[in-house]
């Protein structure tokens, strides 16, 4: 059985194709901005080519992500939290919670029995766009995402930026640059602000368990974020190799049930 999951995020679209519940292909491409529906179709064609299959070979396609409505060829859409929960259980059957943090939203999902969900906490409005703010700052600071990811933990934190709002954080960061603070220190301060916001979502209601919490989404690929979050929260996250494909994988797994 071949199924596919399409996760259309704020910045990127991710596609996972499963053949008998094994990953046959996965593709990602930037798809933010206008004309997203057409870009999604292009990525879809590339993914099919990678897997060496035709559209008729696919049993079901499930879409998720903030742009899920743009997937015209999907048989069903599911919300991000549901896709994240299925991905977590698929990758780590013993998992009890999953954190899904990308360019846009952050979800913390507490898993219930089987494939059920006990609780979902979504970020507050001021915490939207945590991944996006890092991307924007990387651009402003002339650093790559890999360079930001490799940043050492901040020492002393003498120049913090606002950790209540990504927009204020960006303005503070630009202010630091204007007074000559080193760009790597500024990037570290922005990362710290993102981590503060993430940890507040973790502490909202049911606190995720220390050793059975999965972390997926684009931010899970950022080592500086995950290490600092681990330090702050005490949670030893289970991070899959292709964490950014978590939502698409979960959607593809759901498609196998249809």
């Amino acid at each position: 059985m071949i199924t596919a999951g399409v996760d259309v995020g704020l910045m990127n679209t991710k596609i996972v194709i499963l053949r008998d519940k094994e990953v046959a292909a996965q593709r990602t491409k930037q798809s933010g901005g206008g004309g997203r529906g057409e870009t999604v179709k292009e990525i879809w064609q590339d993914a099919l080519k990678d897997a060496g299959i035709k559209p008729k070979d696919i049993s079901k396609v499930v879409a998720t992500g903030t742009g899920k409505k743009d997937v015209s060829f999907a048989d069903k859409t599911v919300v991000e939290a549901v896709a994240a929960a299925r991905a977590a259980r698929f990758l780590y059957p013993e998992s009890t919670s999953v954190v899904d943090a990308g360019a846009d939203m952050t979800h913390v999902v507490t898993l219930g029995e089987g494939n059920t969900i006990r609780e979902v906490v979504m970020n507050q409005k001021c915490m939207n766009g945590l991944g996006l703010v890092i991307e924007v700052m990387a651009d402003r600071l002339g650093l790559t995402l890999d360079e930001i990811s490799a940043l050492a933990p901040a020492q002393g934190k003498t120049n913090p930026v606002n950790d209540g709002c990504p927009v204020f954080a960006e303005l503070d960061a630009l202010g630091l640059l204007n007074i000559g603070v080193d760009r790597r220190e500024v990037a570290g301060a922005v990362t710290d602000a993102v981590v503060v916001r993430l940890s507040s979502i973790l502490n909202d209601k049911i606190r995720p368990q220390k050793d059975t919490t999965v972390f997926i989404g684009g931010l899970a690929k950022n080592l500086a974020v995950t290490e600092r979050l681990k330090e702050r929260s005490g949670i030893h996250f289970l991070i899959p190799e292709n964490a950014e494909y978590g939502g698409a994988l979960g959607a593809a797994v759901i498609a196998t049930d249809m």
Partner: protein, 439 residues
């Protein structure tokens, strides 16, 4: 998954409700035109000033501001801007901004002239911006403004302090009456005021019938209906007898709906409650939730028309036993009357609950058999989101699924992201395994 489908139909009482609301609006318009009549901004909840002062019409800014927010976001924005440029911050209640912004503009939503007030008697509330309210109209023109205190304290209920607070509140009201009599040369009618004391309890009896009937599955009516009617007799007062007749007929009709299994939502399979008012400009989320077979059975706020109620051991809501004057001691004076009103009200308003009756919100959830709760986090205004997260945790601990969303406040749509709110509802429902029953 429950696939039961019940019959549903509109309430027949609708026509009468609209008529009463129109009467209220007419009474304001007429008072604004009538020579010698006094127009006040103020409270008509626990005590209607116009009962004691014949020629006084009181306009609440809550329903006025909420109506603006609901009917015309464009006008509401104009009003808020007019208010903001005069230095009134965005955290001030949206009702106030709408209502008094309209005053600054000089016209109302329907282009009619703004009825300028002769005095302001804002009501005290633990929110608390209510007392701040009259200041805007007082700043614009030199009219008298009063504000009774709303004394509160933290910690367990203390009978001695309670008594002192009741005495103080009574004193405030007596002082206001003396001042109005002196300044406006109008006599307060003690007899009429004392005679009116039985009106609100009688109305509450009928409203309690409705609250109790709403514990039934399927819910015979939902929050949409409560919101349409709950101001009648409280914030938008008209003829007391007609109002009581309305509530009696309303309760009878709800009883008939229960007897005949007429549902508010034909596909009811999920019941949810709320906390405090909704965003009045975005009420369509109630219908959106109906697509999932979800019905809102109200909130402590919208059931307030029933008066102070509590969940009994029989699983039914009852009025909290009112404190009455000692045997043989009649209510003879306005002071007796006010003491009676405030003794009954003290500590039994849901906004006081977080300091003296924390269990009421969980009892509310239990009594109405709710599966979920939507609890807004407002940036300002009504309730100021006081202890909302703590309440959410307590509900969550008893197995109620809680969703928080953010916005400015009920009368101000600025910070409410409608798309995001609907996405949150989708996430909430789908994560509980409920998919839309209709597109």
């Amino acid at each position: 998954m429950n696939k039961q489908r019940w019959e549903t139909r509109p309430l027949e009482i609708w026509g009468k409700a609209k008529e009463l609301r129109a009467q209220w609006q007419r009474s304001i318009n007429e008072a604004a035109e009538r020579p010698g009549a006094m127009l006040a901004h103020g409270n008509t909840g626990e005590f209607d000033w116009s009962i004691g002062f014949d020629d006084l019409t009181v306009i609440e800014d809550n329903p006025v501001g909420a109506m603006m927010a609901s009917k015309s976001d464009a006008f509401s924005r104009k009003c808020r801007l007019a208010s903001e440029v005069r230095g009134w911050g965005r955290e001030i209640c949206g009702y106030v901004q709408n209502c008094w912004g309209s005053q600054f503009l000089g016209y109302e939503m329907d282009d009619g002239a703004f009825p300028f007030r002769d005095m302001s008697i804002p009501f005290p509330d633990p929110c608390d911006q209510h007392l701040k309210r009259g200041q805007q109209c007082m700043d614009l023109s030199p009219i008298p403004r009063w504000g009774a205190d709303y004394p509160m304290y933290l910690g367990p209920l203390d009978p001695k302090r309670e008594q002192a607070f009741i005495d103080h509140t009574v004193y405030c009201y007596l002082q206001i009456i003396d001042d109005i009599e002196r300044i406006f040369d109008h006599k307060f009618d003690d007899e009429k005021m004392i005679g009116s004391l039985n009106i609100l309890p009688a109305l509450r009896e009928q409203a309690l019938r409705i609250s109790r009937l709403m514990t039934h599955t399927p819910a015979p009516i939902g929050q949409k209906e409560l919101y349409s009617f709950y101001t009648l007799g409280l914030l938008t007062k008209v003829d007391p007898k007609e109002t009581l007749d309305f509530w009696t007929s309303f309760a009878d009709e709800v009883q008939w709906r229960v007897d005949n299994h007429i549902a508010a939502v034909a596909t009811e399979r999920f019941r949810w409650m709320e906390a405090h008012p909704s965003p009045w400009n975005f009420l369509k989320y109630f219908r959106y939730m109906e697509k999932y077979g979800a019905v809102c059975i109200g909130s402590q706020y919208s059931h307030i028309i029933s008066g102070p109620i509590e969940l009994g051991e029989d699983g039914q809501f009852h009025h909290i036993q009112r404190k009455k004057p000692p045997e043989g001691q009649e209510i003879r004076t306005r002071e007796d009357a006010f003491r009676h009103i405030f003794t009954e009200a003290r500590g039994y308003r849901f906004k006081d609950d977080e300091y003296c009756r924390k269990w009421t919100i969980t009892d509310f959830a239990k009594g109405f058999h709710v599966d979920g709760a939507i609890m807004p986090l407002w940036r300002g205004g009504v309730g100021c989101t006081l202890t909302r997260k703590e309440q959410g945790l307590r509900l969550s601990e008893m197995g109620v699924h809680v969703l928080h969303y953010e916005g400015s406040q009920p009368g101000d749509r600025t910070d409410l992201d409608e798309r995001r709110f609907l996405d949150q509802l989708d996430t909430w429902m789908e994560s509980l395994g409920l998919e839309k029953l209709e597109a």
